[in-house]
């Protein structure tokens, strides 16, 4: 059986044992402001457009004004319509979608999303334009921090998205909108800070 043959040969031929290295010194802790600054710098570098809003509450009116046809997958009401069994042709009609990211990585402008953020895995890729909203407190310094926070076993599919889809396969000329979304917009917002003296 191939499996057994392969494993047997591998077992015979492995190198002399070398331990898994212990990680480097911990990454320096940076302030939330600094992390946001670096994140925005890289968002721009990877071709994403960036919008900053004061709070979560401001997002809906902003979308309504600037992206009226957008499908907001942050709300569950459209999940059944665009479920895992949704026909591809219907998904292919999606122009603008909005998703919520779980965390952002400052060093490369990447945002983590998984199955719990969209009802159908094609959605972040098939739409022509994707808007991702992200709580700016959820930005970590680098991938080391990111992988410490996410748990791959929470979902069957997860993805780091850094900018719109792109290619440079034709004479190294950068073109956005290869097969995935042509544009990626990231809305950074802050959580409302509740103050017992200022109950709204």
């Amino acid at each position: 059986m191939s499996r057994d043959d392969i494993l047997q040969t591998v077992k015979q031929n492995v190198a002399e044992f070398k331990p898994l290295p212990k990680y480097l010194k911990d990454t320096e802790q940076q302030s939330a402001e600094k992390l946001k600054e670096i994140f925005i710098k890289y968002l721009k570098q990877v071709g994403a457009q960036f919008i900053e809003l004061k709070s979560n509450e401001d997002i809906a009116p902003f979308i309504a004004e600037h992206f009226p046809g957008a499908f907001d997958f942050g709300k569950n009401d459209i999940w059944e319509e665009y479920s895992e069994y949704c026909p591809k042709e219907k998904l292919n009609q999606l122009e603008t979608v909005m998703l919520e990211g779980q965390l952002g990585v400052a060093e490369n402008g990447a945002i983590w999303l998984n199955d719990s953020d969209f009802p159908n895995r094609l959605i972040p890729f098939i739409a022509q334009q994707v808007i991702i909203k992200l709580d700016s407190d959820k930005i970590v310094s680098n991938m080391i921090e990111a992988y410490r926070k996410i748990n791959l076993e929470n979902a069957g599919f997860g993805v780091f998205i850094s900018g719109p889809s792109k290619t440079a396969d034709i004479e190294q000329s950068l073109v956005y909108g290869a097969h995935g979304p042509k544009e990626l917009k990231v809305i950074l917002y802050s959580r409302e800070k509740t103050n017992s003296k200022n109950v709204r």
């Binding site: 290295p21 212990k22 990680y23 480097l24 010194k25």
Partner: protein
């Protein structure tokens, strides 16, 4: 900024070969220096050997040139015939085991002795020879602790960073690495009166000699050489210098075939044009 892996808590292999050790307060007159002259310098560029010998003598060293030396064995070993090279290696060890230091105007030969003589049985004399063989510039800087040879050299000079010296002997920081820049060759030239060291577009790209590569892959070799010379020309160098005459022999061959107007001068000759 400390870029070394060690500063980030990662244990790395310590490289014992080629570590520089400066001998402080040494009485240089008491040192026995063996001069190793690479085969192609012996045959085609004796003036480089003479410059090296004169320079070391001017500094005050007792230099001996063992007459029975031949070659370090690199041309064979790089072509895959390491086994055929063993008698050549043994001849080298025989000729040089009595010396405190062996100095040579060739980065690649020194690299070869320090790294590839590991296939010899590591008797004491083999170990001694491997540890004490130095390329000329690193010997002057690291062992003698001298960085100012009182040179006068009013020319525009391009430094070709020969690969084995650069990446093998760590004569400088190669451009791929995220590390603090340094260059032993540049250090020795910087203080020369009147010199202008030009900046290249590609500071350490290979010249394309590569030993038998130059004849196994002749077109690529010549193309690479042409590109190097053009880089120096574009940046107005009058003279291309290097630690390895093999690189310069290859570049000079191209320069003369193309009838270009730029010269090659081995570092030993520049360092020897001094007022010591």
């Amino acid at each position: 900024m400390n870029y070394t892996a060690a500063s980030w808590g990662i244990k790395t292999q310590t490289h014992k070969k080629g570590t520089s050790k400066m001998v402080r307060n040494l009485d240089i007159k008491k040192l026995n220096i063996g001069l190793f002259i690479p085969c192609y310098i012996d045959q085609f560029y004796p003036q480089v050997g003479i410059a090296t010998l004169e320079l070391l003598q001017k500094i005050g060293l007792n230099v001996v040139y063992p007459m029975k030396q031949t070659c370090c064995g690199q041309p064979l070993a790089n072509s895959g015939a390491e086994k055929e090279a063993i008698p050549v290696y043994q001849n080298f060890v025989r000729n040089f085991s009595e010396f405190d230091y062996i100095v040579s105007p060739s980065g690649s030969c020194v690299y070869h002795v320090r790294i590839h003589y590991d296939i010899l049985e590591q008797a004491d004399e083999v170990k001694k020879v491997r540890q004490n063989t130095y390329e000329l510039c690193e010997f002057i800087i690291d062992v003698l602790g001298i960085d100012d040879l009182k040179i006068e050299y009013p020319h525009k000079v391009g430094i070709h960073q020969s690969c084995h010296g650069l990446r093998g002997l760590k004569l400088g920081r190669s451009s791929e690495l995220v590390a603090n820049p340094y260059s032993k060759v540049r250090k020795l030239l910087e203080k020369a009166k009147g010199i202008e060291i030009i900046r290249l577009n590609r500071e350490d790209e290979c010249c394309g000699f590569g030993g038998t590569f130059s004849v196994f892959e002749p077109e690529v070799s010549v193309k690479m050489g042409k590109d190097r010379v053009r880089d120096h020309q574009e940046n107005d160098a009058e003279i291309i210098t290097a630690t390895d005459m093999s690189c310069l022999m290859h570049l000079e061959g191209i320069i003369r075939r193309q009838k270009w107007d730029i010269k090659v001068v081995h570092i030993a000759e520049i360092l020897n044009s001094n007022n010591l």
